[in-house]
Symmetry: C2
Subunit: 131 residues, 2 copies
């Protein structure tokens, strides 16, 4: 897929028409789910921090995000995913922990793939800008 | 360019893997200029309303936007464009008017071209979603 884009981009990139003009195409992308927002930049970074920190509260703290907001985002993602992205456990001597599931890993990978492909396309659009 | 994308998209669209799953790739796009924000959805719609209404104040009113904000956006676009997108005239019996220039028409066309191409690419990404 990505190789296809690069092959598709090559002829236009050679011209370098708009790259030097200071005009650039940019954008923000997301993946919507059955109930609306599903995966975006912030949500995916939160998933990565949960994987790294082992709990929603520690992940939220590391991102200067309220626990309540982080919990709501995880709840929204879990509700819309085919299988939960984050597995939560309550209680125990160390308090409740959270583990990123295989589905969570796949969601992160899928989002970054789309993110990278779209940014490559924006670069291509910048090179092709007729302005 | 657009035809190339459609040809590029066809094989993946046939599969219709993720279209039925409820997951969709979406995004918001813009064109940055030498000083930052240059053309985005709201700015381009403002240009179109100026063309239709013949003045910044009437265009702003029709979009429930303050004149001050509309004027700032036009000023930002004019300052970054190679040639002014909007020509303003002051005074006269009917007050100050504003006319969209040829450069303004080209800017509008360039933005919608990028907008449509990117949305076509988002559709392609939706069809190719591996999730």
């Amino acid at each position: 897929m990505f190789v296809c884009i690069l092959r598709f981009m090559r002829p236009v990139q050679k011209k370098k028409r708009s790259k030097d003009s200071g005009y650039r195409v940019g954008g923000r992308i997301w993946i919507k789910g059955p109930e609306g927002a599903f995966l975006g930049y912030g949500r995916v970074v939160l998933l990565e921090h949960i994987r790294d920190h082992g709990s929603i509260s520690a992940a939220a703290r590391s991102m200067s995000m309220s626990y309540r907001h982080a919990w709501k985002l995880v709840d929204s993602m879990n509700a819309q995913a085919k299988a939960p992205l984050v597995q939560m456990s309550t209680g125990g001597s160390g308090g409740g922990g959270a583990v990123l599931t295989d589905a969570g890993e796949r969601a992160i990978a899928a989002f970054w793939q789309v993110h990278d492909d779209c940014n490559a396309f924006f670069e291509h659009q910048t090179a092709a800008l007729e302005w």
